[in-house]
Amino acid sequence: MWKWLHPYAEPQRAYQLAGKFIPWLSILATLMLLTGTIWGMVFSPTDYQQGDSYRIIFVHVPAASMSMSAYIGMAIAAFIGLVWQIKLADWMAASIAPVGAVITFIALVTGSTWGKPMWGTWWVWDARLTSELVLLFLYLGVISLYASFEDKVLAARAAGILAIVGVINIPIIKYSVDWWNSLHQGSIKMTGKTAMPPDMLVPLVINILGFGVMIAALSLVRFRAEILARNGMRPWVRELAQAEGVK
């Protein structure tokens, strides 16, 4: 049933396939982020409670929600790599981790610069902020565990186990605002009486999707480099290295 997939599990094929996707994904991500950000910054109505400071939402919410999605993506890749011993999945997980860590960092910093004018403080130790910080630590743990093994096959497995164990944190972040009384705003409602007006919601959704596409593009760029680094002994990589590397 899955036979048609097998040729793509070959490193060289995956490398070429990723190379075909990257330009399209990058163009799409750039267009979406430009549209969403300009729409949000210039054309969205000012919030009647928060004034113009709410415009941070157009980078904060996409980063926060995609930091979780990227973690889930990494954990799924790690799981596939562990269970079916597919090296490409291991490399994918290792490529997502640094991208996810930076996105989590962005979510934390933008949240903090939004918190200062709204709550009067850069940081509060409430459930959502703390668990997002834990998410950053988990990303950093996965990255440094992967880096500390000489043998990268073992490194990927060890980091994969850690990534899967850390998935428990994701529902805690997602529902922390609904479970605990928190200073943090509730989750955004798409429908109903308290729904966001479409002029705010549409650019926000565009930016969320744009962040997702951008993470995919960056992960694929790293994924290609990872394939090369892990296959340094293969003839096709050596040819490529001698064609491009010696300058």
Partner: protein, 228 residues
């Protein structure tokens, strides 16, 4: 050969062995305990000895010290067995690895968790903790320290093959410890103000049950990776 050894027999043999080894090297039991006591005594010196402040921060100090003590003592959980090769014997044995791992973690908890629970009330007195909070302190430690041992063992199993695993271990384990810390100190604070704290206890108990079921699999898988 004793190929037909039953699961319970294997479990208790390993437990007995670990306890016996620990009794012969008494430092393994006393050093974490001493570390725990010293860390707790440092805090009044650092933040001032005013009873009001101390009683306010006592649950946090005791629990953070417990986390650190548990983490430091965990480092040696698999190290000696890894070095002398008995860990590989365990991996090869016909008994399920999860069972053997559980027995080792239980031994670790008996050796470091239980003494810590016994000493904790004494330290709570020194920190002027509210007397209403004592039962909560004991209960959270009883339910929480096994979770620390179980979760920590995952990190130790991942880093046992590495030469410089120490600092990395703290980066891996401490984020996983945070939920236990939050709910345990929350329960103690609720108890100090005479509010019901069953909710937090129930969550810690749920964490214990969950990690008791799932952690042995993660520890076993990590050990197989590390000893490859």
């Amino acid at each position: 050969m004793n190929r037909g050894i039953s699961y319970t027999q294997a479990f208790f043999t390993l437990l007995q062995r670990d306890l016996k080894i620990a009794v012969r090297h008494r430092g393994d039991i006393f050093n974490p305990l001493l570390f725990f006591i010293i860390v707790v005594t440092l805090f009044p010196l650092g933040i001032g000895s005013e009873a009001k402040i101390l009683s306010r921060v006592a649950p946090g100090i005791i629990w953070v010290a417990a986390l650190l003590a548990s983490m430091l003592s965990l480092e040696r959980l698999f190290k000696a067995d890894f070095v002398d090769g008995s860990l590989e014997q365990m991996l090869l044995s016909p008994q399920p690895l999860q069972l053997l791992v559980l027995s080792k973690v239980l031994a670790h908890w008996l050796l470091t968790g239980v003494p810590l629970i016994i000493v904790a009330p004494l330290l709570a007195v020194l920190l002027h903790m509210d007397s209403n909070a004592y039962p909560a302190l004991i209960e959270t430690l009883l339910l929480g320290t096994p979770v620390l041992s179980l979760l920590g063992a995952i990190g130790v199993a991942l880093t046992v093959g590495l030469r410089k695993g120490g600092v990395l271990l703290s980066l891996l384990i401490l984020p996983l410890y945070i939920p236990v810390l939050i709910f345990a100190t929350g329960a103690i604070e609720f108890a100090a103000t005479k509010q019901p704290y069953d909710g937090q206890l129930a969550i810690i108990a749920a964490l214990l049950v969950g990690s008791l079921v799932l952690a042995p699999f993660a520890i076993g898988a990590s050990l197989r990776v590390s000893t490859n």
